[in-house]
Protein backbone atom coordinates (compact mmCIF):
# COMPACT_ATOMS: atom_id res chain seq x y z
CA UNK A 1 0.00 0.00 0.00
CA UNK A 2 1.49 3.39 -0.97
CA UNK A 3 2.58 6.00 1.60
CA UNK A 4 0.90 8.83 -0.32
CA UNK A 5 -1.40 8.41 -3.32
CA UNK A 6 -3.17 11.02 -5.46
CA UNK A 7 -5.85 9.72 -7.89
CA UNK A 8 -7.37 12.00 -10.56
CA UNK A 9 -6.60 15.07 -8.40
CA UNK A 10 -8.04 18.37 -9.72
CA UNK A 11 -7.56 21.84 -8.19
CA UNK A 12 -9.46 24.82 -9.63
CA UNK A 13 -9.52 28.40 -8.29
CA UNK A 14 -12.33 30.32 -10.03
CA UNK A 15 -11.47 29.87 -13.74
CA UNK A 16 -7.83 28.91 -13.17
CA UNK A 17 -7.01 25.17 -13.22
CA UNK A 18 -3.94 24.75 -11.04
CA UNK A 19 -3.91 20.92 -11.18
CA UNK A 20 -5.77 19.05 -13.93
CA UNK A 21 -6.03 15.32 -13.17
CA UNK A 22 -2.87 14.20 -11.35
CA UNK A 23 -2.08 10.60 -10.44
CA UNK A 24 0.94 10.16 -8.21
CA UNK A 25 2.22 7.65 -5.67
CA UNK A 26 5.02 7.92 -3.10
CA UNK A 27 6.45 4.81 -1.39
CA UNK A 28 7.50 4.61 2.22
CA UNK A 29 11.06 5.75 3.07
CA UNK A 30 11.51 7.40 -0.33
CA UNK A 31 12.89 10.92 -0.99
CA UNK A 32 10.62 12.13 -3.76
CA UNK A 33 11.34 15.27 -5.80
CA UNK A 34 8.59 17.44 -7.29
CA UNK A 35 9.89 19.91 -9.84
CA UNK A 36 8.52 22.09 -12.59
CA UNK A 37 8.53 25.71 -13.78
CA UNK A 38 6.83 28.43 -11.72
CA UNK A 39 3.06 28.05 -11.70
CA UNK A 40 3.22 24.35 -12.49
CA UNK A 41 1.02 23.54 -9.47
CA UNK A 42 3.72 22.21 -7.12
CA UNK A 43 2.79 24.28 -4.05
CA UNK A 44 -0.91 23.86 -4.90
CA UNK A 45 -0.39 20.10 -4.64
CA UNK A 46 1.17 20.56 -1.20
CA UNK A 47 -1.74 22.83 -0.19
CA UNK A 48 -4.16 20.11 -1.35
CA UNK A 49 -2.30 17.38 0.59
CA UNK A 50 -2.13 19.48 3.77
CA UNK A 51 -5.84 20.39 3.61
CA UNK A 52 -5.16 24.12 3.35
CA UNK A 53 -7.35 24.40 0.23
CA UNK A 54 -10.31 22.07 -0.52
CA UNK A 55 -9.81 19.52 -3.34
CA UNK A 56 -11.95 20.33 -6.42
CA UNK A 57 -12.10 16.74 -7.66
CA UNK A 58 -10.28 13.43 -7.27
CA UNK A 59 -8.82 11.95 -4.09
CA UNK A 60 -5.70 11.91 -1.95
CA UNK A 61 -4.95 8.92 0.29
CA UNK A 62 -2.29 8.80 2.98
CA UNK A 63 -1.34 5.26 4.05
CA UNK A 64 -4.61 4.05 2.50
CA UNK A 65 -6.79 6.56 4.36
CA UNK A 66 -8.68 9.26 2.41
CA UNK A 67 -7.44 12.65 3.65
CA UNK A 68 -8.72 14.94 0.87
CA UNK A 69 -11.75 16.04 2.96
CA UNK A 70 -9.90 16.53 6.25
CA UNK A 71 -8.86 19.78 8.00
CA UNK A 72 -5.14 20.64 8.27
CA UNK A 73 -4.90 19.75 11.97
CA UNK A 74 -6.49 16.33 11.35
CA UNK A 75 -4.06 15.59 8.49
CA UNK A 76 -1.10 16.61 10.68
CA UNK A 77 -2.41 14.20 13.34
CA UNK A 78 -2.29 11.43 10.69
CA UNK A 79 1.44 12.06 10.38
CA UNK A 80 1.56 14.08 7.12
CA UNK A 81 3.21 17.45 7.98
CA UNK A 82 4.39 20.21 5.63
CA UNK A 83 6.66 23.23 5.72
CA UNK A 84 5.94 26.48 3.87
CA UNK A 85 7.63 28.10 0.87
CA UNK A 86 7.93 31.47 2.61
CA UNK A 87 9.43 31.52 6.11
CA UNK A 88 6.54 30.89 8.51
CA UNK A 89 7.47 30.96 12.19
CA UNK A 90 6.08 32.13 15.52
CA UNK A 91 8.17 35.30 15.29
CA UNK A 92 7.88 36.60 18.87
CA UNK A 93 8.57 33.17 20.37
CA UNK A 94 12.08 31.98 21.16
CA UNK A 95 13.56 29.25 18.94
CA UNK A 96 12.92 26.67 21.67
CA UNK A 97 9.29 27.77 22.22
CA UNK A 98 8.68 27.60 18.45
CA UNK A 99 9.53 23.90 18.49
CA UNK A 100 7.68 23.28 21.77
CA UNK A 101 4.58 24.81 20.13
CA UNK A 102 5.10 22.49 17.15
CA UNK A 103 5.14 19.51 19.52
CA UNK A 104 1.44 20.04 20.36
CA UNK A 105 0.21 16.72 18.97
CA UNK A 106 2.55 14.67 21.11
CA UNK A 107 2.28 16.27 24.50
CA UNK A 108 -0.85 15.60 26.55
CA UNK A 109 -2.74 18.85 27.04
CA UNK A 110 -5.73 19.52 29.28
CA UNK A 111 -7.16 22.85 30.43
CA UNK A 112 -7.62 21.63 34.03
CA UNK A 113 -4.09 20.28 33.94
CA UNK A 114 -2.73 23.66 32.90
CA UNK A 115 -4.71 25.42 35.62
CA UNK A 116 -3.80 23.08 38.50
CA UNK A 117 -0.30 22.28 37.16
CA UNK A 118 -0.93 18.56 37.83
CA UNK A 119 2.05 16.21 37.81
CA UNK A 120 0.93 14.81 34.44
CA UNK A 121 0.91 18.28 32.90
CA UNK A 122 4.30 19.23 34.33
CA UNK A 123 5.80 15.97 33.01
CA UNK A 124 4.19 16.43 29.59
CA UNK A 125 5.56 19.96 29.32
CA UNK A 126 9.04 18.92 30.48
CA UNK A 127 8.96 16.03 28.00
CA UNK A 128 7.96 18.46 25.26
CA UNK A 129 10.85 20.83 26.09
CA UNK A 130 13.33 17.92 26.18
CA UNK A 131 12.07 16.63 22.81
CA UNK A 132 12.35 20.16 21.40
CA UNK A 133 15.98 20.43 22.53
CA UNK A 134 16.70 17.07 20.89
CA UNK A 135 15.18 18.21 17.60
CA UNK A 136 17.05 21.52 17.68
CA UNK A 137 20.37 19.73 18.26
CA UNK A 138 19.46 17.30 15.44
CA UNK A 139 18.79 20.21 13.12
CA UNK A 140 21.91 22.11 14.29
CA UNK A 141 20.21 25.09 15.99
CA UNK A 142 21.07 23.95 19.54
CA UNK A 143 23.17 27.09 20.21
CA UNK A 144 20.39 29.56 19.30
CA UNK A 145 17.70 28.16 21.59
CA UNK A 146 16.96 31.34 23.54
CA UNK A 147 17.10 33.77 20.63
CA UNK A 148 13.88 35.26 19.32
CA UNK A 149 12.88 33.58 16.04
CA UNK A 150 12.58 36.87 14.16
CA UNK A 151 16.26 37.73 14.86
CA UNK A 152 17.65 34.56 13.16
CA UNK A 153 19.47 34.58 9.80
CA UNK A 154 17.41 33.44 6.80
CA UNK A 155 19.09 30.03 6.62
CA UNK A 156 18.51 29.37 10.29
CA UNK A 157 14.88 30.45 9.98
CA UNK A 158 14.38 27.84 7.23
CA UNK A 159 16.00 25.23 9.47
CA UNK A 160 13.70 26.25 12.34
CA UNK A 161 10.69 25.77 10.01
CA UNK A 162 11.78 22.17 9.48
CA UNK A 163 12.42 21.72 13.21
CA UNK A 164 8.84 22.83 13.93
CA UNK A 165 7.54 20.28 11.39
CA UNK A 166 9.70 17.56 12.94
CA UNK A 167 8.32 18.42 16.38
CA UNK A 168 4.92 17.21 15.13
CA UNK A 169 6.58 13.74 14.86
CA UNK A 170 5.60 13.29 11.19
CA UNK A 171 5.67 9.97 9.34
CA UNK A 172 5.90 11.88 6.04
CA UNK A 173 7.32 15.37 5.51
CA UNK A 174 6.44 17.73 2.64
CA UNK A 175 9.35 20.23 2.24
CA UNK A 176 8.41 23.31 0.17
CA UNK A 177 11.63 24.76 -1.34
CA UNK A 178 13.89 24.08 1.67
CA UNK A 179 16.94 25.58 -0.08
CA UNK A 180 15.29 28.73 -1.46
CA UNK A 181 17.53 31.75 -0.82
CA UNK A 182 20.43 29.65 0.51
CA UNK A 183 24.07 29.84 -0.55
CA UNK A 184 25.98 26.71 -1.63
CA UNK A 185 27.32 25.56 1.76
CA UNK A 186 23.94 26.20 3.40
CA UNK A 187 22.36 24.02 0.63
CA UNK A 188 24.96 21.34 1.24
CA UNK A 189 24.05 21.42 4.96
CA UNK A 190 20.34 21.12 4.05
CA UNK A 191 21.02 18.08 1.79
CA UNK A 192 22.87 16.44 4.63
CA UNK A 193 19.98 17.19 7.02
CA UNK A 194 17.33 15.79 4.64
CA UNK A 195 19.29 12.58 4.32
CA UNK A 196 19.58 12.28 8.11
CA UNK A 197 15.80 12.89 8.43
CA UNK A 198 15.11 10.10 5.94
CA UNK A 199 17.36 7.78 7.99
CA UNK A 200 15.01 8.22 10.97
CA UNK A 201 12.34 6.53 8.80
CA UNK A 202 10.44 9.63 7.65
CA UNK A 203 9.30 9.64 3.98
CA UNK A 204 10.12 12.95 2.32
CA UNK A 205 8.70 14.79 -0.69
CA UNK A 206 10.34 18.08 -1.59
CA UNK A 207 9.80 20.91 -4.06
CA UNK A 208 13.07 22.49 -5.14
CA UNK A 209 14.40 24.61 -8.02
CA UNK A 210 18.12 24.02 -7.30
CA UNK A 211 18.81 21.09 -9.66
CA UNK A 212 22.07 20.17 -7.85
CA UNK A 213 20.04 19.56 -4.65
CA UNK A 214 17.23 17.68 -6.43
CA UNK A 215 19.51 15.43 -8.48
CA UNK A 216 21.74 14.74 -5.47
CA UNK A 217 18.96 13.91 -3.05
CA UNK A 218 15.97 12.36 -4.72
CA UNK A 219 15.36 8.67 -5.42
CA UNK A 220 12.54 9.50 -7.84
CA UNK A 221 11.38 12.77 -9.39
CA UNK A 222 7.98 13.86 -10.73
CA UNK A 223 7.86 16.83 -13.10
CA UNK A 224 4.76 18.99 -13.32
CA UNK A 225 3.93 21.54 -15.98
CA UNK A 226 0.66 23.55 -16.18
CA UNK A 227 -0.91 21.17 -13.65
CA UNK A 228 -0.09 17.94 -15.53
CA UNK A 229 2.57 15.33 -14.89
CA UNK A 230 4.96 15.29 -17.89
CA UNK A 231 7.64 12.95 -16.51
CA UNK A 232 8.30 10.54 -13.62
CA UNK A 233 11.40 8.50 -12.89
CA UNK A 234 15.00 8.45 -11.64
CA UNK A 235 16.96 11.72 -11.72
CA UNK A 236 19.03 10.55 -14.72
CA UNK A 237 15.93 9.58 -16.74
CA UNK A 238 14.24 12.90 -16.00
CA UNK A 239 17.35 14.91 -16.99
CA UNK A 240 17.50 13.15 -20.31
CA UNK A 241 13.77 13.62 -20.98
CA UNK A 242 13.20 16.07 -23.91
CA UNK A 243 9.80 17.19 -22.70
CA UNK A 244 11.26 18.24 -19.32
CA UNK A 245 13.97 20.32 -20.99
CA UNK A 246 11.39 21.95 -23.20
CA UNK A 247 9.13 22.76 -20.26
CA UNK A 248 12.02 24.37 -18.42
CA UNK A 249 13.97 26.07 -21.21
CA UNK A 250 11.09 26.91 -23.48
CA UNK A 251 11.12 26.06 -27.22
CA UNK A 252 14.94 26.13 -27.77
CA UNK A 253 15.06 22.68 -26.11
CA UNK A 254 17.85 21.54 -28.37
CA UNK A 255 20.42 23.77 -26.62
CA UNK A 256 23.05 21.31 -25.39
Amino acid sequence: MHELEARGLQMKFGGVTAIAGLDLTVEEGEIRGLIGPNGAGKTTFFNACSGRYPVTAGEIRYRGQKISGMKPHQIAAEGLVRTFQHVTLFKQFSVLKNVVAGNYLHSRHSYWGSLLRTRKTREAEAGSVARAREILDFVGLGALMDQQASTLAHGHQKMLGIAIALAAEPKMLLLDEPCAGMNSDESREMIHLVRRIRETGITIMLIEHDMKVVMGLCDRITVLNFGNEIADGTPEAVRANAQVREAYLGSQAHVA
Binding site: S50, H73, Q92, S94, A101, S114, L115, Q148
Partner: protein
Protein backbone atom coordinates in the same frame (compact mmCIF):
# COMPACT_ATOMS: atom_id res chain seq x y z
CA UNK B 1 11.99 29.74 27.67
CA UNK B 2 11.22 32.78 25.58
CA UNK B 3 10.95 36.55 26.12
CA UNK B 4 7.29 36.62 27.21
CA UNK B 5 7.86 33.65 29.48
CA UNK B 6 10.75 35.25 31.34
CA UNK B 7 8.61 38.20 32.35
CA UNK B 8 5.57 35.99 32.94
CA UNK B 9 7.48 33.53 35.07
CA UNK B 10 6.05 33.81 38.58
CA UNK B 11 8.13 36.66 40.06
CA UNK B 12 6.63 35.72 43.40
CA UNK B 13 7.99 38.77 45.14
CA UNK B 14 6.07 41.15 42.89
CA UNK B 15 2.71 39.36 42.83
CA UNK B 16 2.97 38.59 46.55
CA UNK B 17 3.78 42.25 47.23
CA UNK B 18 0.80 43.47 45.24
CA UNK B 19 -1.57 41.03 46.98
CA UNK B 20 -0.23 42.00 50.39
CA UNK B 21 -0.65 45.68 49.54
CA UNK B 22 -4.23 45.00 48.44
CA UNK B 23 -5.00 43.03 51.64
CA UNK B 24 -3.63 45.78 53.86
CA UNK B 25 -5.04 48.69 51.81
CA UNK B 26 -8.28 49.23 53.82
CA UNK B 27 -6.22 49.74 56.97
CA UNK B 28 -3.75 51.96 55.11
CA UNK B 29 -6.52 54.35 54.08
CA UNK B 30 -7.94 54.32 57.60
CA UNK B 31 -11.08 52.47 56.52
CA UNK B 32 -12.25 55.49 54.51
CA UNK B 33 -15.39 53.99 52.95
CA UNK B 34 -15.06 56.01 49.75
CA UNK B 35 -11.49 54.80 49.17
CA UNK B 36 -12.67 51.22 49.73
CA UNK B 37 -15.33 51.86 47.09
CA UNK B 38 -12.51 52.94 44.75
CA UNK B 39 -10.70 49.72 45.69
CA UNK B 40 -13.72 47.61 44.74
CA UNK B 41 -14.06 49.49 41.43
CA UNK B 42 -10.37 48.81 40.78
CA UNK B 43 -10.90 45.08 41.41
CA UNK B 44 -13.76 44.94 38.91
CA UNK B 45 -11.74 46.87 36.29
CA UNK B 46 -8.70 44.61 36.82
CA UNK B 47 -10.82 41.51 36.28
CA UNK B 48 -12.46 43.06 33.21
CA UNK B 49 -9.10 44.06 31.67
CA UNK B 50 -7.33 40.74 32.39
CA UNK B 51 -10.18 38.63 30.97
CA UNK B 52 -10.11 40.86 27.86
CA UNK B 53 -6.35 40.24 27.74
CA UNK B 54 -7.10 36.50 27.73
CA UNK B 55 -9.04 36.97 24.47
CA UNK B 56 -6.17 39.13 23.19
CA UNK B 57 -3.85 36.10 23.60
CA UNK B 58 -5.73 34.75 20.55
CA UNK B 59 -4.85 37.96 18.69
CA UNK B 60 -8.31 39.56 18.72
CA UNK B 61 -10.12 42.10 20.91
CA UNK B 62 -13.79 41.49 21.81
CA UNK B 63 -16.02 44.55 22.14
CA UNK B 64 -18.82 42.29 23.42
CA UNK B 65 -16.98 42.00 26.73
CA UNK B 66 -19.24 44.37 28.65
CA UNK B 67 -22.22 42.58 27.10
CA UNK B 68 -21.16 39.26 28.64
CA UNK B 69 -20.52 41.00 31.95
CA UNK B 70 -24.11 42.18 31.61
CA UNK B 71 -25.35 38.65 30.98
CA UNK B 72 -23.69 37.46 34.19
CA UNK B 73 -25.06 40.48 36.09
CA UNK B 74 -28.63 40.16 34.79
CA UNK B 75 -28.67 36.38 35.33
CA UNK B 76 -27.66 36.65 38.99
CA UNK B 77 -29.88 39.72 39.56
CA UNK B 78 -32.99 38.12 38.11
CA UNK B 79 -32.32 34.85 39.94
CA UNK B 80 -32.43 36.90 43.14
CA UNK B 81 -35.33 39.24 42.38
CA UNK B 82 -37.51 36.59 40.70
CA UNK B 83 -36.54 33.31 42.40
CA UNK B 84 -35.08 34.61 45.66
CA UNK B 85 -31.80 32.70 45.23
CA UNK B 86 -28.91 34.52 46.88
CA UNK B 87 -25.70 35.56 45.16
CA UNK B 88 -24.00 32.30 46.11
CA UNK B 89 -26.23 30.59 43.54
CA UNK B 90 -26.43 33.67 41.31
CA UNK B 91 -22.66 33.64 40.75
CA UNK B 92 -22.64 30.15 39.29
CA UNK B 93 -25.86 30.63 37.34
CA UNK B 94 -24.48 33.89 35.96
CA UNK B 95 -21.24 32.17 34.99
CA UNK B 96 -23.13 29.26 33.38
CA UNK B 97 -25.48 31.51 31.39
CA UNK B 98 -22.68 33.72 30.03
CA UNK B 99 -20.64 30.58 29.24
CA UNK B 100 -23.60 29.17 27.30
CA UNK B 101 -24.15 32.37 25.34
CA UNK B 102 -20.40 32.75 24.78
CA UNK B 103 -20.25 29.30 23.19
CA UNK B 104 -23.32 29.91 21.03
CA UNK B 105 -22.01 33.27 19.80
CA UNK B 106 -18.37 32.11 19.46
CA UNK B 107 -19.21 29.55 16.77
CA UNK B 108 -20.20 32.15 14.13
CA UNK B 109 -18.02 34.91 15.64
CA UNK B 110 -14.79 32.91 15.35
CA UNK B 111 -15.18 32.70 11.59
CA UNK B 112 -14.12 36.34 11.42
CA UNK B 113 -10.56 37.69 11.75
CA UNK B 114 -8.76 40.79 13.10
CA UNK B 115 -10.75 43.96 12.38
CA UNK B 116 -13.84 42.06 11.22
CA UNK B 117 -13.88 40.16 14.54
CA UNK B 118 -13.57 43.49 16.32
CA UNK B 119 -16.58 44.96 14.52
CA UNK B 120 -18.63 41.75 14.76
CA UNK B 121 -18.04 41.58 18.54
CA UNK B 122 -19.09 45.25 18.77
CA UNK B 123 -22.37 44.31 17.06
CA UNK B 124 -22.83 41.39 19.49
CA UNK B 125 -22.32 43.71 22.48
CA UNK B 126 -24.89 46.17 21.16
CA UNK B 127 -27.49 43.45 20.48
CA UNK B 128 -27.05 42.02 24.00
CA UNK B 129 -27.43 45.47 25.62
CA UNK B 130 -30.44 46.48 23.55
CA UNK B 131 -32.21 43.18 24.25
CA UNK B 132 -31.99 44.00 27.95
CA UNK B 133 -33.60 47.34 27.09
CA UNK B 134 -36.24 45.98 24.71
CA UNK B 135 -37.78 43.21 26.82
CA UNK B 136 -39.34 45.52 29.40
CA UNK B 137 -41.34 43.05 31.44
CA UNK B 138 -38.59 40.45 31.89
CA UNK B 139 -35.41 42.52 32.04
CA UNK B 140 -36.99 45.74 33.30
CA UNK B 141 -36.15 47.61 30.09
CA UNK B 142 -34.32 50.90 30.44
CA UNK B 143 -35.48 51.11 34.08
CA UNK B 144 -33.16 48.26 34.94
CA UNK B 145 -33.34 45.93 37.93
CA UNK B 146 -33.65 47.35 41.45
CA UNK B 147 -32.55 46.30 44.97
CA UNK B 148 -30.21 43.40 44.19
CA UNK B 149 -29.33 42.67 47.85
CA UNK B 150 -25.76 41.66 48.65
CA UNK B 151 -25.66 38.14 50.17
CA UNK B 152 -25.16 37.02 53.76
CA UNK B 153 -22.62 34.27 54.43
CA UNK B 154 -23.83 32.07 57.27
CA UNK B 155 -21.05 29.78 58.53
CA UNK B 156 -22.95 28.82 61.75
CA UNK B 157 -20.35 30.33 64.06
CA UNK B 158 -19.87 33.42 61.87
CA UNK B 159 -22.35 35.55 59.95
CA UNK B 160 -20.85 37.95 57.37
CA UNK B 161 -23.32 40.40 55.85
CA UNK B 162 -21.79 41.57 52.63
CA UNK B 163 -23.75 44.83 52.72
CA UNK B 164 -20.75 45.96 54.81
CA UNK B 165 -18.37 47.50 52.28
CA UNK B 166 -15.14 46.25 53.83
CA UNK B 167 -16.47 42.66 53.71
CA UNK B 168 -17.44 43.19 50.07
CA UNK B 169 -13.97 44.60 49.35
CA UNK B 170 -12.37 41.34 50.47
CA UNK B 171 -14.99 39.29 48.60
CA UNK B 172 -14.26 41.23 45.40
CA UNK B 173 -10.52 40.97 46.04
CA UNK B 174 -10.84 37.19 46.45
CA UNK B 175 -12.72 36.73 43.16
CA UNK B 176 -10.44 39.12 41.29
CA UNK B 177 -7.29 37.43 42.54
CA UNK B 178 -8.85 34.08 41.57
CA UNK B 179 -9.55 35.43 38.06
CA UNK B 180 -6.04 36.85 37.62
CA UNK B 181 -4.53 33.64 39.00
CA UNK B 182 -6.58 31.49 36.57
CA UNK B 183 -5.65 33.66 33.60
CA UNK B 184 -1.99 33.84 34.64
CA UNK B 185 -1.79 30.09 35.19
CA UNK B 186 -3.49 29.27 31.86
CA UNK B 187 -1.14 31.65 30.06
CA UNK B 188 2.07 30.36 31.63
CA UNK B 189 1.29 26.77 30.64
CA UNK B 190 0.87 24.77 27.42
CA UNK B 191 -2.58 26.32 26.91
CA UNK B 192 -0.94 29.75 26.82
CA UNK B 193 1.60 28.49 24.28
CA UNK B 194 -1.23 27.22 22.06
CA UNK B 195 -3.23 30.46 22.23
CA UNK B 196 -0.19 32.67 21.64
CA UNK B 197 0.84 30.34 18.76
CA UNK B 198 -2.57 31.05 17.18
CA UNK B 199 -1.95 34.75 17.87
CA UNK B 200 1.49 34.68 16.23
CA UNK B 201 0.69 32.62 13.14
CA UNK B 202 -2.70 30.94 12.80
CA UNK B 203 -1.76 29.10 9.58
CA UNK B 204 1.35 27.47 11.06
CA UNK B 205 -0.51 26.64 14.30
CA UNK B 206 -3.20 24.83 12.33
CA UNK B 207 -0.64 22.85 10.34
CA UNK B 208 1.14 21.65 13.47
CA UNK B 209 -2.06 19.93 14.55
CA UNK B 210 -3.78 22.61 16.70
CA UNK B 211 -7.57 22.67 16.14
CA UNK B 212 -7.58 26.46 15.93
CA UNK B 213 -11.38 26.87 15.78
CA UNK B 214 -12.00 24.75 18.88
CA UNK B 215 -9.21 26.49 20.82
CA UNK B 216 -10.65 29.90 19.94
CA UNK B 217 -14.16 28.89 21.07
CA UNK B 218 -12.83 27.45 24.36
CA UNK B 219 -10.69 30.52 25.12
CA UNK B 220 -13.54 32.92 24.32
CA UNK B 221 -15.93 30.89 26.49
CA UNK B 222 -13.57 30.80 29.48
CA UNK B 223 -12.95 34.56 29.26
CA UNK B 224 -16.69 35.31 29.03
CA UNK B 225 -17.44 32.97 31.96
CA UNK B 226 -14.90 34.80 34.12
CA UNK B 227 -16.35 38.18 33.14
CA UNK B 228 -19.86 36.79 33.81
CA UNK B 229 -18.85 36.02 37.41
CA UNK B 230 -17.49 39.55 37.78
CA UNK B 231 -20.77 40.85 36.35
CA UNK B 232 -22.69 39.02 39.08
CA UNK B 233 -20.41 40.51 41.75
CA UNK B 234 -20.83 43.97 40.18
CA UNK B 235 -24.63 43.65 40.23
CA UNK B 236 -24.78 42.68 43.89
CA UNK B 237 -22.41 45.48 44.81
CA UNK B 238 -24.16 48.25 42.86
CA UNK B 239 -27.60 46.87 43.97
CA UNK B 240 -28.99 48.38 40.71
CA UNK B 241 -28.17 47.58 37.09
CA UNK B 242 -29.54 48.91 33.80
CA UNK B 243 -28.62 48.31 30.15
CA UNK B 244 -26.57 51.52 30.24
CA UNK B 245 -24.23 49.99 32.85
CA UNK B 246 -23.01 47.52 30.20
CA UNK B 247 -22.78 49.71 27.13
CA UNK B 248 -19.88 50.10 24.75
CA UNK B 249 -18.06 52.57 26.99
CA UNK B 250 -17.32 49.80 29.51
CA UNK B 251 -15.72 47.60 26.85
CA UNK B 252 -13.81 50.61 25.52
CA UNK B 253 -12.42 51.49 28.94
CA UNK B 254 -11.40 47.84 29.50
CA UNK B 255 -9.52 48.01 26.17
CA UNK B 256 -7.97 51.35 27.18
CA UNK B 257 -6.76 49.84 30.47
CA UNK B 258 -5.26 46.97 28.47
CA UNK B 259 -3.48 49.18 25.93
CA UNK B 260 -2.12 51.66 28.48
CA UNK B 261 -1.07 48.79 30.74
CA UNK B 262 0.60 46.67 28.07
CA UNK B 263 -0.39 43.81 25.80
CA UNK B 264 2.27 41.14 26.28
CA UNK B 265 1.97 39.97 29.90
CA UNK B 266 -0.86 39.64 32.43
CA UNK B 267 0.93 42.34 34.45
CA UNK B 268 -0.06 44.84 31.76
CA UNK B 269 -3.86 44.88 32.21
CA UNK B 270 -3.44 44.73 36.00
CA UNK B 271 -1.16 47.80 36.01
CA UNK B 272 -3.31 49.61 33.45
CA UNK B 273 -6.58 48.99 35.30
CA UNK B 274 -5.15 50.04 38.69
CA UNK B 275 -3.54 53.28 37.53
CA UNK B 276 -6.27 54.46 35.16
CA UNK B 277 -9.11 53.77 37.63
CA UNK B 278 -7.25 55.89 40.18
CA UNK B 279 -6.72 58.65 37.62
CA UNK B 280 -10.43 58.59 36.66
CA UNK B 281 -11.48 58.77 40.32
CA UNK B 282 -8.94 61.48 41.11
CA UNK B 283 -10.22 63.57 38.19
CA UNK B 284 -13.77 63.43 39.53
CA UNK B 285 -13.20 66.65 41.42
CA UNK B 286 -12.31 68.48 38.21
CA UNK B 287 -15.97 68.53 37.15
CA UNK B 288 -16.24 69.62 33.50
CA UNK B 289 -12.66 68.83 32.65
CA UNK B 290 -12.89 65.20 33.72
CA UNK B 291 -13.44 63.62 30.31
CA UNK B 292 -10.95 65.99 28.72
CA UNK B 293 -8.16 65.14 31.17
CA UNK B 294 -8.84 61.43 30.81
CA UNK B 295 -8.56 61.77 27.05
CA UNK B 296 -5.24 63.61 27.44
CA UNK B 297 -3.88 60.95 29.83
CA UNK B 298 -4.95 58.24 27.39
CA UNK B 299 -3.30 59.78 24.33
CA UNK B 300 -0.17 60.73 26.27
CA UNK B 301 0.34 57.22 27.62
CA UNK B 302 -0.16 55.59 24.20
CA UNK B 303 2.19 57.99 22.41
CA UNK B 304 4.82 58.60 25.09
CA UNK B 305 4.92 55.08 26.50
CA UNK B 306 4.73 52.61 23.60
CA UNK B 307 4.28 49.08 24.90
CA UNK B 308 2.49 50.34 27.99
CA UNK B 309 3.19 50.47 31.72
CA UNK B 310 4.57 46.94 31.80
CA UNK B 311 7.64 48.10 29.88
CA UNK B 312 8.47 50.68 32.58
CA UNK B 313 10.55 48.27 34.69
CA UNK B 314 12.51 47.12 31.60
CA UNK B 315 13.15 50.77 30.69
CA UNK B 316 14.35 51.53 34.22
CA UNK B 317 16.53 48.43 34.21
CA UNK B 318 18.06 49.66 30.95
CA UNK B 319 18.53 53.13 32.44
CA UNK B 320 19.96 51.55 35.57
CA UNK B 321 22.41 49.42 33.57
CA UNK B 322 23.43 52.36 31.38
CA UNK B 323 24.22 54.43 34.50
CA UNK B 324 26.22 51.61 36.10
CA UNK B 325 28.23 51.06 32.88
CA UNK B 326 29.13 54.77 32.53
Amino acid sequence: MDKSDIIARPNRLVWGGLLALALVAPALVGFDLYMIHVGITISFNVALATSLWMIWSLGVISFAHAGFMGIGAYASALVLTKLGLSMWYGLWIGAAVSALFAMLIAVPLMRTRAVYFFMASWAVGEVIKRNFAYFKDFFGGWDGVFDIKPPVLDLGFLQIDFANRIAYYYLALFFVSLTVWIIYRMNASRTGTIWWAIHENELLAQHTGINVFRQKVVCFTIACTLVGVIGALYAHYQTYISPKSFDIWKSEFALVHLIVGGLTTVGGPVAGAISLTMVDEALRATGYFRTIFFGVVLIASVLLLPGGLETVPARIRKLFNRNSQK
